[in-house]
Amino acid sequence: MQAAAKGRAKRLSPKRTTGDILFNILNYSLITLITFTCLFPFLNAVANAFSSNRAIQTGLVTIFPIEWQWDAMKTVLGDKQVIRSLGVTVYITVIGTALNMIFTILTAYPLSRRDLKGRTLFMNYMIITMLFGGGLIPFFLLVKALGMLNTLWSLMIPGLISAFNVIIMKTFFQGIPDELREAAIVDGCGNIRFLLRIVLPLSGASMATIGLFYAVGHWNSFFNAVLFINNPDYYPLQVKLRNILLLAQMDTSLETLQQQNQLHVIEESLKSATVVFATLPILIVYPFLQKHFVKGAMLGSIKG
């Protein structure tokens, strides 16, 4: 239907005027420029990670590595703590996302059923939590009281269900025609079987979207770890990364202080290598999921 609409628009668009052409040139160049500003910092970080410190210090590195070297990346890969924190991050991302998905589906499916009594009540119950909360301290004390401090559960359980994602998923489930359910019920299919056999297989795009949101959240999770985890063995990658960068910040913002105190000189390429290392998995997965999540997010947002 969309393609047809587009075709119609094309046929109907008037002859190209000079203003039109100018507009196009300007529009395309601006978008190219903005797109490049989004990409450039990452290219620059990759280039820095593989350039020699000398080249970085002379300001030659832009988007291509100068005086190629692997040493910085090797140092990162050789750091046992970095590898350990990578393990923690992979663990919470895999297990955490699986738990998120299960519980989000369980909550979203009943709410998508128009014939369920009291679903508005539950929606309100959930939406209130998006508008008002107890804040950081009661939340922290709760997790503490539950005995989750310094466990990886503290990084997975308190964010188990996101009300926002439930609403997106619920909206998607509502798009599945009711006739399908009627047909399935006639064939003797119960609610649960219908969910497992029919709803879920039809919801690939929204699963990919919500899954990506949760997974990226876990991969990037930082503050919860700072709050709940004191044991360096359980630090996720982002916390480890921040500790490395924090030393580096001293060096860029406090030039004078730095001169008096030469303790924390971190090589430029090493900083970038750590950043690249922490980002790489997202960059690898991203192109594959991209198509789905745009579709999924749009579906969720229109009626959301």
Binding site: Y28, F103, S301
Partner: protein, 320 residues
Amino acid sequence: MEARSASLTEIRETEVPAKMKPLHKELRKNYDLYLLLVPGFLFFLLFSYVPMFGLLIAFKDYNLFKGVFASDWAGLTHFREMLKIPAFWQMVRNTLTLNVLGLIFGFPAPIILALMLNEIRAKYFKRISQSLLYLPHFMSWIVLGGIVYNLLSPKYGIVNELLRQLGFNEIYFMADKSWWIAVYTLTGVWAGAGWGTIIYLAAMTSIDPSLYEAAVMDGAGRFRKIWHITIPGIMPTVVVLLILTIGHMVSIGIEQPMALTNPVVTDVSEVISTYIYSVGIKQGQFGLTTAVGMVQSVINLCLVLGANYAAKRMGREGIW
């Protein structure tokens, strides 16, 4: 379909003894659906509603060993104490400054970008530029912060290198207070603008194409079509998002300030959330910081309700 199921239940009602209440029947019919809701119910109860009751700490002399309920009442002491700390007004000011700047620059940015993207006809160009625009959204603030520090470093950063080549002096972006605010605002826009376009682009695809056709018939050019059809077409979405953004005016995510701050600029970078973290969690002043957090939550709630009310008064659809 609804009519049919309604008539079905009517028939059943005559068969079943009159004692059976509709609720019981409903529970029996869809008991498995209600069971599915139990974990979600418990989750929000425990992790959202229990902390709301935890706000009692703001009125108590919280004692770690006694717990929330057994601790002694402190009345409004914490709130009075809060108003007296000089740092309080500073962080309120900082939170508001950074948020207002973020709203002024960050809110229109995705709208303009979406309008621009919407005018692009080349399919592949559009798709590729979109995926690259979304990229910063998927990076943690720690990574973005690291990259920003790197780019803006006075010694090695590419930005200062460029300034030097153009004959300017290097700028200590992250160590100068006003530059820091500018960097904070711009990185916020940079990280969020691309992702923000999704919802507006979705709204644009649902605009009736015949409106554009009619406008073309009336001799409308490109700008007129954007101005008279596209923008009014996305206005409901704009209003909803504006209400939600205004609702967060007093709160600020903690990760961006934490990732970008440094000891030289704390005067302008200390915000309510970082204060709650450092004074509450690190120094253990639970009562005081719960009071601060509570004031923040209440103001946010009032702002959302107020913005929603105002939107309705102006004849727009609110969020509920």
